[in-house]
Amino acid sequence: MSNTVFELNGKTLTVKPDGELDSVTSPTFEKELREHLSGADSIVVDFEKVNYISSAGLRVFLAVENTLEAHGAEMKLIHVNEHILEIFDLVGFMDVVDVE
């Protein structure tokens, strides 16, 4: 996921992953995401360019959410397409993570 864009605006970090978030790309994506977390109390993940997410991808957000919660920070997923939204819904993802 080398083409992920990170933009830190004040205390808000905007993350724009690109492509598929599967068991191959997710570990890299998580590593990059965690490197950018410090100093941000609000994370916005823009799913505009994400066309597939596997359980490994879901796990990244669940795990990051856990970390953020411990620090009192928040995470929000935006621009999630219908197909992925179905998946989120199916696996009960939205019970745990804030999806707009």
Binding site: R59, A63, E65, V91, G92, D95
Partner: protein
């Protein structure tokens, strides 16, 4: 440093000594020759001047003497005596007396003139002796040797011929102290009227000449006067101890020669006009041998000194050379012992050694490089070997883990041979690397059957361990009588609590009341089960799931009631089935799964699973299995089947 004959030191020393000896010999020879020549030349120059002076003064003296004698002899009175006839005894006696008196007064009073006599053609002689006695001999009594007699008789008229030297004893027929040992004769022809030709002979002893060059005596030289026949007329100084011919031929050559007494000498000679006598001055070089020896010794000592210096210089040079040589050798030896990092060599001034040092350093650098390469290769090889061993170990461990994992799954089928109401079959085909799929089924009590299928994220040992933990926790919760949602909620909290590895697990779980076919299911993020209702087709049942276990403590789980009727089937699986890829990376997918299940929807669980397996095998072809493939099929008969 050992002194051995085959060592470089000696190999070089020998030619050095020979060379020095040759040089010394050459120097000695050349120098002594030059030196001696110089001395000799000095000597000869001095003596040559002396000789010229002397010979210039002596020769006229000799000639003057001869002329004087001749003039006396030409006196008419002598001729008249020669012509005396023996006509009367009285006249003869008077004539003899007159002749004797004349000779005594005019001729024999002269120094060196010993006598005067006459010789007739027949050889008869007469004349006066120094003591005044007159004699007359018959021809047969003439004591002159024949060749001398012939020379006199052949003399041209008016010319003086010199004959001799002849021994006085021979000439007079007896020996006496009065008679000189050697007599020279000056003779000339005159004509007597009555007897015809007649010859006058003047006898001279050597003192006539010796007197001439008495002044020449210098203690070093000897003077010799020779006739044209190389007979010695007289000498001053030493007796001649060599052949006159050799002396004359050696004279004026500038050479040093040795006489019969082995004494070195050189000589000068000059030949008179008339008579053609030869005057020789022989100079003895008595100090010559000693001088030559002295010069030779000096040069030999000098040469020895040069040799000594040469040897010392050679030894010093050799030591320096050998020190540098051994330094080089040590360097090479160090290399031989494997020390390629040694400091530079001792600096050397010898070109060839410098070249050698350069070459050795280059070789050393090259060897160093090669050694580095070898060491690096060895290190890499070791690393590879270690890696390979590690890999083997891991693979071995994984294999064991897989075996443990597999053995943890119930594998004995039929699982419940005494149960007629249902049939079930399950299988797990692990991927090459151990994964975290598992299935489970067990009776919670005599009328409740639990069915579990789960997929742990990730692979390897951690996944396997996580799977074991999850399986055991689920089993524990269900066995304690919990409903599926409560069980998963508790297991989720337990997994979150201890989940440092950030792993998670998707679980589908159902607890079925065997007698009625009713049950509760709960899906924690697992793929949708496929349900087949009796007489219908298999279809995936899509509904809202709960989130998978092990990530979020906030997660809530909901029970979903269901009912199995007689002839209904259930097929649950992991995503290893739908996400199996062929060589073109195409996924097997849900549609293919459904159509495979629907080949024979009524088939027994074991058949169902083997059909899916076959379809998968056909689909993936040669592609490697990436994920565990786990399936569980359940068919409910209710009361329709009699065992």
């Amino acid at each position: 440093m050992k002194h051995r004959l085959k060592s470089l030191r000696f190999r070089i020393l020998l030619p050095v000594i020979i060379l020095v000896l040759i040089i010394i010999t050459l120097l000695t020879t050349l120098f002594s020759r030059a030196y001696i020549k110089m001395i000799q030349q000095q000597e000869q120059e001095v003596n040559a001047v002396g000789f010229a002076t002397v010979s210039n003064s002596v020769l006229p003296l000799i000639n003057t003497s001869i002329a004087e004698v001749r003039s006396v002899m030409s006196d008419d009175r002598v001729a008249s005596y020669a012509r005396l006839r023996y006509s009367s005894m009285t006249e003869l006696v008077h004539a003899r007396i007159r002749c004797r008196d004349y000779l005594r007064s005019e001729i024999m009073s002269r120094d060196g003139i010993y006598g005067l006599l006459f010789m007739r053609k027949d050889g008869s002689q007469f004349g006066a002796l120094p003591n005044g006695n007159f004699f007359q001999d018959r021809p047969e009594e003439n004591p002159l040797p024949e060749d001398m007699k012939a020379k006199i008789l052949n003399a041209p008229l008016g010319e003086t011929v010199w004959v001799g030297p002849v021994s006085g004893a021979v000439l007079y027929g007896f020996e006496s102290s009065d008679i000189p040992q050697s007599i020279m004769i000056a003779a000339w022809k005159s004509v007597d009227v009555s007897y015809g030709e007649c010859y006058a002979l003047m006898l001279m002893d050597e003192s006539i000449f010796e007197g001439l060059f008495a002044s020449l005596q210098d203690g070093k030289s000897s003077w010799y006067l020779f006739t044209e026949d190389q007979a010695e007329i007289c000498h001053i100084g030493r007796d001649l101890s060599m052949d006159p011919g050799r002396l004359i031929s050696e004279s004026n050559s500038g050479n040093i020669f040795r006489d019969d007494d082995e004494l070195p000498a050189f000589a000068y000679s000059t030949t008179l006009d008339a008579p053609a006598w030869t005057l020789v001055r022989k100079v003895s070089m008595e100090g010559y041998d000693k001088m030559v020896r002295g010069v030779t010794h000096t040069i030999a000592i000098f040469g020895g000194l040069i040799l000594l210096i040469a040897l010392v210089v050679y030894e010093l040079w050799m030591r320096r050379f050998l020190r540098q040589f051994y330094s080089l050798l040590k360097g090479i030896a160090r290399m031989g012992e494997g020390d390629l990092e040694s400091a530079a060599f001792e600096p050397t001034s010898i070109d060839e050694f410098q070249t050698m040092q350069r070459e050795i350093n280059r070789t050393r650098a090259a060897l160093n490089d090669q050694m580095d390469t070898i060491r690096r290769m060895e290190r890499e090889r070791m690393e590879m070997e270690n890696k390979r061993k590690e890999q083997e170990r891991i693979e071995e461990e994984l294999k064991m883990a897989r075996e443990i994992q597999e053995s943890a799954l119930p594998q004995l089928f039929p699982a419940f041979p005494d149960r007629a109401k249902f049939d079930l079959f399950a299988s797990m085909t692990p991927a090459k690397e151990v994964g975290g799929d598992f299935y489970d089924f067990f009776q919670v009590d005599s009328d409740h059957l639990a069915l579990v299928i789960a997929d742990v994220s990730g692979k390897g040992i951690p996944a396997a361990l996580f799977m074991m933990t999850s399986k055991s926790l689920i089993n524990t919760q269900l066995m304690s009588g919990c409903d599926p949602a409560t069980a998963l909620e508790r297991v989720n909290l337990q997994l979150c609590e201890r989940n440092s590895s950030r792993m998670f697990v998707t679980v589908w779980l159902a607890v079925l009341e065997i007698s009625t076919g009713r049950g509760l299911a709960c899906n924690a993020g697992h793929v949708n089960p496929a349900i087949h209702r009796s007489g219908g087709r298999f279809a995936l049942e899509v509904y809202k799931h709960n989130i998978f276990l092990g990530v979020s403590k906030k997660a809530k789980y909901v029970n979903r009631p269901f009912e199995m009727k007689s002839g209904d089937s259930l097929f649950v699986y992991t995503d290893g089935v739908t996400e199996a890829r062929d060589t073109d990376k195409q996924m097997f997918g849900k549609e293919r799964l459904e159509s495979t299940l629907n080949i024979d929807p009524e088939a027994a669980p074991e058949t169902l699973i083997s059909q899916v397996k076959n379809a998968l095998t056909d689909f993936v072809g040669g592609a490697e299995q990436f994920d565990d493939i786990t399936m569980l099929a359940f068919r409910y008969y209710g009361d329709s089947r009699i065992r």
